[in-house]
Subunit: 134 residues, 2 copies
């Protein structure tokens, strides 16, 4: 199950994408999408620092997409918001970590299944961009 952070983040990105070429202030997204204002603030900050969003301070300011929606892939967004796409770190492409309970990954009975799950999810996320959520 994905976190609310991820859910809110995706909804916010979609909202901004729909209002492209305009500044979208936090308050507007928060109200429209029923997202706690301060929580959303921290999420948008993260998305900006991760290179998805640009921002402008002050009156008339807000957030905007730095790239075309069709160039924003769910793989990248999900990794920032939710973390690893893989179900276990030992099969993660971007967040690899060794298991402490496993001696050898190649002989681990879960390995094959975990890779299948990872790849199934990757396939979906690689073939979906923000444009598809608009």
């Amino acid at each position: 199950m994905i976190s609310k952070k991820t859910k809110y983040g995706l909804k916010a990105l979609t909202y901004i994408a729909r209002n492209d070429k305009q500044m979208v202030p936090i308050a507007l997204i928060a109200e429209s999408e029923n997202i706690p204002h301060k929580f959303l603030e921290s999420i948008l900050l993260l998305l900006r620092k991760s290179g998805f969003l640009g921002s402008k301070k002050g009156k008339g300011g807000g957030y905007y997409l730095l790239k075309e929606a069709s160039d924003i892939y769910m793989t990248d967004v999900m990794r920032i918001l939710e973390g690893p796409i893989a179900p276990v770190a030992c099969v993660s492409l971007n967040y690899y970590e060794k298991c402490d309970d496993c001696e050898d990954e190649t002989t681990c009975s879960l390995n094959k299944l975990m890779i299948q799950v990872r790849d199934a999810n990757l396939h979906v996320f690689r073939n979906t961009t923000l444009e598809d959520l608009k």
Copy 2:
């Protein structure tokens, strides 16, 4: 990312499946798979109550599969150990719950993506049985 409970549970089931037709005591699984004994105990208890395992108390006792490994589907195991397969409750087949922030699911921008993720995972789990992990 799946919980350790799920990971341990799957490993334990596999271990038992490999030693089919024999009683397998907790202690043996715990040591072989590097799983904390008491934690594993609670997991096996759950798997028994959920109908995957049978048990026998006392000397020479232990756990055994109630069905053929090839009849134990990952969909069922995962739902017990990990909970919903869907990434959000509002697209879950077995654990449905309405979103509190969404008015209408049919117009939610995430809906389609979430269903795709759910179905991708379902596809893997429906086509994998415990036999495949052996």
